[in-house]
């Protein structure tokens, strides 16, 4: 309004006629519409995103604070506060979700203290370096505390008296799986960039597992790990393992899930790393070779730094994806024996299947928190550093 008034008085001062003023007003309106057009056009998309993403997020949050009850003629959703979270962390589901906590072995203590010492040392270095904001410092301290807590949980639940819950089992799937997948994917990528015979054929073969549905992979591994009827039965018999079953032993079953996950996802690592390696600068390698560098030195000092930014993104994508693992343990072992191979997502799925919708939503929120926290820590602490370097 103020702008309009100023414009009108200015027009009156210069003695512009009524018709011209009308034309000017039209121009002002149309220019305002033009300015608004961007927002108007984007509004439907924003509403769709809000409806499909933010709204369900809040709905599931409210569900995690409630309990479903069937009553005459329908059902009720009653608010129960943090009871579902309490049940998972301290109540009847604690041993299932968190695990059985027991005194760690000397190795467990060494691992825990080592991780804490490393985290504290990194924090001290960060503080000494200076040039950080308050928010950033709070974030670092939080990351150190939570990572320390996870290390404590690993040390206490992986001891001989303890038992890992679905949180720790998921972490094992993620970190062991990704580490091996990356190492194997890199090895295969290095091999297929060499001038070897039939390398094109092998590139296609190495990609095949990624094309197969996870359910198919789970059934395949279910057959292969069956020492009684599977294709390796004669080998197991010859080794005296005819009466041993992978899926009857908690660690055997977890290993079976991790191996099948590695088999399925190594091709993804391989194909992206292959593309990164083929896209690296040839001049640097040639220069290094002219300077007398051997193959290992070329790989370590030139190739690896060049593919590091791609690698960190690749690991981030896989990490977010791996936290949601559900199909392999569900089909391969049905989460068993007992609950040994249950991931957090499978835990949430089973809770949902038994109509514990509140408990299921609470697990899903804990997973969301864990993935977000670890991904942000990874991006802030590691990836940014690598990319900057």
């Amino acid at each position: 309004m103020t702008t309009e008034r100023v414009s009108r008085s200015a027009l009156a001062e210069v003695g512009i006629g009524v018709e011209t003023r009308a034309a000017f007003a039209t121009r002002v309106v149309s220019s305002r519409l033009e300015r608004m057009a961007g927002n108007v056009f984007i509004l439907p998309a924003v509403l769709v995103v809000l409806f499909l993403s933010i709204f369900p997020l809040f709905l599931s949050l409210s569900l995690s604070l409630s309990r479903l009850k069937f009553v005459k003629g329908g059902f009720e959703i009653n608010f129960v506060g943090l009871a579902n979270y309490h049940k998972l962390l301290f109540g009847s589901e604690q041993d299932h979700f968190v695990g059985v906590i027991a005194s760690p072995s000397p190795f467990g203590w060494a691992f825990f203290l080592g991780v804490v010492a490393f985290l504290v040392w990194r924090l001290v270095c960060y503080i000494r370096a200076g040039g950080y904001g308050v928010v950033s410092l709070i974030g670092r301290v939080l990351a150190v505390v939570l990572l320390g807590l996870l290390a404590w949980l690993l040390a206490h639940t992986l001891s001989s008296e303890g038992r890992p819950g679905t949180v720790v089992v998921t972490l094992l799937y993620v970190f062991i799986g990704i580490a091996v997948q990356y190492a194997l994917g890199l090895l295969l990528a290095v091999l297929t960039t060499q001038r070897l015979p039939a390398r094109r054929f092998f590139r296609v073969v190495f990609l095949l597992p990624m094309m197969i549905t996870p359910v198919g992979i789970a059934y395949t591994f279910r057959m292969m790990t069956d020492t009684d009827k599977g294709p390796f039965q004669p080998i197991w018999q010859a080794l005296g393992l005819g009466l041993y079953s992978w899926v009857n032993d908690p660690w055997g079953a977890r290993a079976a899930v991790i191996i099948s996950d590695i088999w399925q996802w190594t091709p993804f690592m391989f194909i992206v790393l292959l593309a990164a390696m083929e896209g690296q600068s040839v001049e640097l390698i040639e220069a290094a070779l002219v300077d007398g560098a051997n193959r290992w030195q070329v790989f370590w000092h030139i190739t690896l730094p060049q593919i590091l930014p791609v690698s960190t993104t690749l690991i981030l994508i896989r990490m977010i994806e791996a936290f949601k693992i559900v199909d392999l343990p569900n089909v391969l072992t049905n989460g068993g024996p007992g609950t040994a191979t249950e991931s957090m997502t499978l835990h949430a799925f089973i809770a949902w299947r038994t109509l514990d919708l509140g408990g299921s939503a609470a697990i899903a929120y804990m997973l969301l928190f864990l993935v977000t926290f670890l991904s942000m820590s990874y991006v802030n602490i590691l990836r940014r550093r690598v990319v900057e370097v």
């Binding site: 005459k72 329908g74 009847s92 032993d249 989460g335 024996p337 609950t339 038994t354 109509l355």
Partner: protein
């Protein structure tokens, strides 16, 4: 011109969409005319049950016959067993009502009846002579079909756990069928690792389904029952009938867990991942000396196409114990006439009516004609003409539940059993059915949470070595207490006492 065409096209499309639902009704007009010969012509009945082949198989096989008789088309939809309870509940509770009828575990019916989801079938049954209701054994009429004096389901199956043994092997070794669980373990140990079917490979002493999320969670109470309940059915085996405190944290349940765990030593390597279908085929392929199961192995063993143990199978009532629980101290005490009045040769047996037998119920929200057709189909399936054949076929998963099926041994001989095997098989079921110390399955509100969620998880964790015996018992105790507190102790206690026939406090 183009716009006009476009508008006309849009109008036509909208018109077609709007009239589409009407079209089949118009088309089916003549078909919906009720004919005397085929009273349900044009009616479709969607029945939900669990993934077969058993249980669903006879429904699917006899569906076309029923269509030919009445005109009603029977669609059988199947889901995994672990999903069945909630699929039925959510379908009705959310008003989706995509299923008109269900074949399910009758112990769950309490959760469907209280909110008013299941159709009361009392009048229909009373007016139906063909079903021969009085021929159904009283236990199944009362436990599997009736709630608070009204009939809600039609029994299609009769269920008891019992023990099967290889008669030929035991006779050869001069061993007797197991009377106690110690006998069971001794026999299992004696035969484990030996070649039992002549194929050169070592076989197993005992095969019991122990898969989580399947139909295995009843077995632990089949062992624990003989240690916990000795004074008769009304004593109850799950909770104290005065306090509703679970009877799972004591020496009796600990002994049962030890036995159950030891059977795993003499079982197939992947026993913890085997469903009942898997253990049944292992037994009928001659790979197991012993097994615990419902009545299915008895009929599967006579199938010449799949069984190599025809006429080599014996069956007995569930083994028992010579020591039982003193509920005051939580300790095991030796049996005497006072503590174990129903003991046979000093052994307290407590046959477990696990599950109760698959039964058919009807969605109260279905259309009246569909309800009638669904009832007619369940009645047809249960009538002796059909049922007396189906219970003798192993792959149906249906076990005897009619008096005539127990009395008429000819049926079984005709199906391929030797008179001795028929006598053994039916005798074991009759012993269980007539036992005054029979254990009734849980039928209190949300019994599925007590058993399929809490019990199943804790026992499977124990069997896999993830938790200790003490942790397992504590987990079940705490989990059951949590549910009881949530639903109201007094309400649950009254329901429990009600199912055992104990008067209200």
């Amino acid at each position: 011109m183009r716009i006009r065409w476009l508008v006309a096209l849009v109008l036509l499309t909208v018109g077609a969409i709007l009239t589409a639902p009407v079209a089949p009704v118009v088309a089916s007009g003549p078909e919906t005319t009720v004919s005397q010969e085929k009273p349900f012509e044009g009616i479709e009945v969607n029945i939900l049950t669990f993934t077969g082949p058993q249980i669903a198989e006879p429904l699917q096989r006899r569906g076309p016959d029923f269509t030919a008789l009445t005109g009603a088309k029977i669609n059988v939809i199947v889901v995994p067993f672990s999903d069945l309870y909630q699929k039925i509940l959510t379908d009705m509770a959310t008003g989706t009502n995509s299923f008109d009828a269900f074949v399910f575990a009758p112990q769950w019916m309490v959760d469907y009846i209280i909110p008013g989801y299941l159709e009361d079938l009392t009048e229909r049954v009373q007016n139906d002579k063909d079903i021969q209701w009085e021929d159904i054994a009283p236990f199944f009429r009362e436990f599997s079909a009736t709630y608070a004096g009204r009939i809600y389901t039609i029994p299609l199956d009769g269920d008891f756990h019992m023990v099967y043994y290889r008669k030929d092997l035991l006779e050869k070794e001069g061993m007797k069928p197991p009377a106690t669980w110690d006998d069971y373990l001794a026999i299992a140990k004696a035969f484990h690792g030996k070649d039992l079917n002549g194929d050169g490979d070592p076989d197993y002493g005992s095969c019991i389904s122990k898969k989580r999320g399947a139909q295995a969670y009843w077995f632990i109470f089949s062992i624990a029952g003989g240690f916990i309940q000795s004074l008769g059915t009304s004593q109850g085996a799950f909770f104290d009938t005065e306090t509703m405190k679970p009877l799972v944290n004591n020496e009796a349940f600990a002994a049962a867990l030890d036995i159950y765990n030891e059977t795993t030593k003499y079982g197939p390597p992947d026993e913890l991942n085997l469903d009942v279908g898997d253990t049944r085929s292992l037994f009928t392929s001659g790979r197991c000396a012993l097994s615990m199961d419902w009545g299915d192995i008895g009929t599967l063993a006579i199938d010449p196409q799949t069984s190599v143990v025809q006429d080599k199978v014996g069956s007995v009532i569930l083994p028992g114990s010579t020591k039982v629980l003193d509920r005051k101290t939580g300790k095991l005490v030796p049996c005497d006439e006072k503590i174990c009045p129903h003991a046979i040769n000093g052994v307290n047996h407590a046959p477990y009516a696990a599950f109760g037998g698959w039964s058919g119920g009807i969605n109260a929200a279905a259309k009246p004609q569909v309800k009638d057709a669904a009832y007619a189909f369940f009645s047809y399936m249960s009538q002796p003409a059909q049922s007396n054949v189906d219970v003798t076929i192993g792959k149906t998963g249906y076990n005897p539940y009619r008096i005539s099926q127990f009395l008429n041994r000819e049926l079984w001989v005709k199906a391929g059993m030797s008179p001795k095997a028929a006598s053994d098989y039916l005798g074991a079921i009759e012993d269980s059915l007539n036992s005054p110390n029979m254990i009734l399955d849980l039928r209190i509100p949300q019994n599925q949470r007590y058993q399929q969620v809490v019990l199943d998880k804790a026992v499977s964790q124990f069997l896999s070595g993830e938790i200790t015996k003490e942790q397992c018992m504590k987990q079940i105790y705490d989990g059951w207490e949590e549910i009881t507190e949530e639903l109201g102790r007094e309400q649950q206690l009254e329901a429990y006492r009600g199912t055992l026939g104990i008067p209200t406090k």
